[in-house]
Symmetry: none
Subunit: 244 residues, 4 copies
Amino acid sequence: METESFDNRLFMARKTAATRSSATVPPDPPGWRDAPTRDERGRLIREGLFRAASAVVGERGYQEASISLITQRAGVAQGTFYNHFKSRQDLLDQLLPTLGKDMLEHVGRCAREGKTLIEREELGFRAFFSFLRENPHFFRILNEAESFAPNAYRAHLDLVAAGYVSFFRRAAQAGELRGFEDRELEVVAFVLMAARSYLAWRYVYGEEQHDDIPDWVVTAYRRLISGGLEGAAESTPAGSRVRA
Amino acid sequence: METESFDNRLFMARKTAATRSSATVPPDPPGWRDAPTRDERGRLIREGLFRAASAVVGERGYQEASISLITQRAGVAQGTFYNHFKSRQDLLDQLLPTLGKDMLEHVGRCAREGKTLIEREELGFRAFFSFLRENPHFFRILNEAESFAPNAYRAHLDLVAAGYVSFFRRAAQAGELRGFEDRELEVVAFVLMAARSYLAWRYVYGEEQHDDIPDWVVTAYRRLISGGLEGAAESTPAGSRVRA
Amino acid sequence: METESFDNRLFMARKTAATRSSATVPPDPPGWRDAPTRDERGRLIREGLFRAASAVVGERGYQEASISLITQRAGVAQGTFYNHFKSRQDLLDQLLPTLGKDMLEHVGRCAREGKTLIEREELGFRAFFSFLRENPHFFRILNEAESFAPNAYRAHLDLVAAGYVSFFRRAAQAGELRGFEDRELEVVAFVLMAARSYLAWRYVYGEEQHDDIPDWVVTAYRRLISGGLEGAAESTPAGSRVRA
Amino acid sequence: METESFDNRLFMARKTAATRSSATVPPDPPGWRDAPTRDERGRLIREGLFRAASAVVGERGYQEASISLITQRAGVAQGTFYNHFKSRQDLLDQLLPTLGKDMLEHVGRCAREGKTLIEREELGFRAFFSFLRENPHFFRILNEAESFAPNAYRAHLDLVAAGYVSFFRRAAQAGELRGFEDRELEVVAFVLMAARSYLAWRYVYGEEQHDDIPDWVVTAYRRLISGGLEGAAESTPAGSRVRA
DNA sequence: GATGAATGAGTGTTCATTCAT
DNA sequence: CATGAATGAACACTCATTCAT
């Protein structure tokens, strides 16, 4: 499929940080050549393919993630791919779940440090962006999954939403969150998930590529979700900013 | 390309409403056969190709929108395509801008009816979903554009955000919106745009396919954006619901 | 699929007669480059593909008849193949029916010259072998069709058998053939078809490659079918031999 | 390889009788796990591979008889295959000779019971079909060998023909067969071999799948070979039918 | 300007064979 | 000697684009 006219500036700027180059795909350091056991060797190759796929998808998108590109980058023969994955789609379907779980774990761990509901949400918000910084391929893997791995995408969103909802439920039981019926909590969860994604798209991968989300964006975000459009006037002062 | 594991339920349920069928693609009524002038004829063909592409992308996604499928559906020869568009990507890049403008116009017109800021936002929110109902291809064209027509996607989001920001600026000048700095307005805009998209994904195209966004979701949304997480307790009563 | 160890002497000896060489496949004289009309051009290419496929299958077998080999030999691009045939199998399925009809026509025309039943059968028998001489690819196309184009094979055998049966019926009505019930005529037909095929395999394509079936084989054949095992003693004298 | 348009009804009907199932290939009972000696173990594995290959080829044809399928069915690793056979073709080449000898032995034993030449031939004819019933894989192994194991095919036909010829020679010496020169006996042999094969194809594996060759076909066959086309009128009465 | 056949690079996948363990 | 992962050449087929008519 023809994709030459795609504007990949969005992800290409980060690419240089993530990998050496993309035109001449350099194979991963083939560390498994001297693996102790056969099992270990197999594990390393599988991981190599997985990392290669993550990198290719992160840099060029699912569309261009051909078996040829992936195996070349992993430093193995094309046929080897099928010893480890049933099909191209099979691997593609595993990308998001695997990385998604890491993200969830990281965000959850960071958020727990907060004392109030809003503080925890802000910490989680910041943690999402610090995860993005450490895993530069995640964002594209996540976003394009909607088109290229819809099942994985749905599962991921459901998982994150479920985490959010139980987070809210605990807050509601603690009296920190009032005014929402139970089924409405999922709506809130989706709005906050959506916000993270769009704000990352705009302020991290946008035209003025930032390495991290600007502080003033976090402030605005906290203002909005804590008091809404109407309550922003009396919102918490800027002094309470926290670094993730 | 292997797509068997794709879960197309997301869009397929709507397809029957949107088009006659998808297995046997019925060509558009080739109305240009008897066009008065040569120019008119050209215009009609171009439009036919455009509509065919919208339908194909809406039903099957950008990925499957091959020239062959599009021209077949438009009832013209493959070669004709290149008399009207520079390339496949050229047409694909025009899909979202064109439909996006329609959406913006519809939403703007509906929103203007509201008296307060929150009311206008709710009306706009509802208008987004009524537009989706009338233009069943739009959602997929919009969402997959992030992967397949990134320039168009960026332009669309920038356009919508700009509209939102000036909408907020007017509200701020009218004293309806306080507490946000000017540059923060864009953050708010992106959060609200994000919310619409994710909530549509979840509640319109989600597992329990609704034709329209459920009312209680609108309520929860209004609660959140008007008072935030903390102010939801004193949120506006349910009686103020408005139908778009 | 690995076929290197196949003993292709069976068909390779004839190959040199049929085509220049097989290692370096020489493209057919691309006579269509300068075709008058587009339709003519298309027809010529289609025929070129068909002839190329016949040659490849005749010389190397269905197994090795790859699209690459066929198109190379026809002097067209690989993609061109699919403008004329739905799939590789589609073309392969047409090989036998097309050539089979030619064979039937040739054999039928020759056989009609005979005065008695036995004479007509002998003429038909000889005509089968003269057809083989003129169409050196036919035998392999016919035989391997049992494995590679079973539908075509069955249709071909049914067609030939049907011709045979009506030939016998007419003979029976003329009093030339007695002692067989109607349904038994098909059994006779299959035995005679079988005989032609096996005798060709043995005496034309066998180790001592003959260009034509030896006369003494025809004699033995006539002896057998005219008087059977028991009546061969009083069989017609050798003097009645006829040349096709 | 594309095989969808293959009509496998020919062999599929028998498959259920021949093996448990074909979709889920059940490994042979791996009886060699507890073999006494190392040699014994090796022999058992070799036999297992051989039987697995026979089954796979009989059910799916040579084409689909991949090393993977065969070893899986035999319950051994892929690599093990090459400890017992030089190559895939090496095993495939041994299939027909081995089974062919069984067939020859069975047919010869049955035929010897007949008193006259014709009776012995009829008994052999019937024995061929009873062998087919007991060895449902044989027919396909035999027929496709012409394409996939031509050396083996040639050897098999030569062997059977040789047996036939010496059978006829003895009959000739006994005065039961007159009128054929010595070299003509091979012609007769090939015609009778051909008849068996084609009649099996038509009346056992044909559209109306019979478990055995119908009696009236045997009658017609005997009529033809005993008296030929001309002597059928005075052919032996139907009362002489014999069951194999 | 409409046509539709020709093009050929590119795809995902299979499979006989090798070989280190 | 059994194992099973690694290999890479080969395959059928797709498709955006070109261009002669």
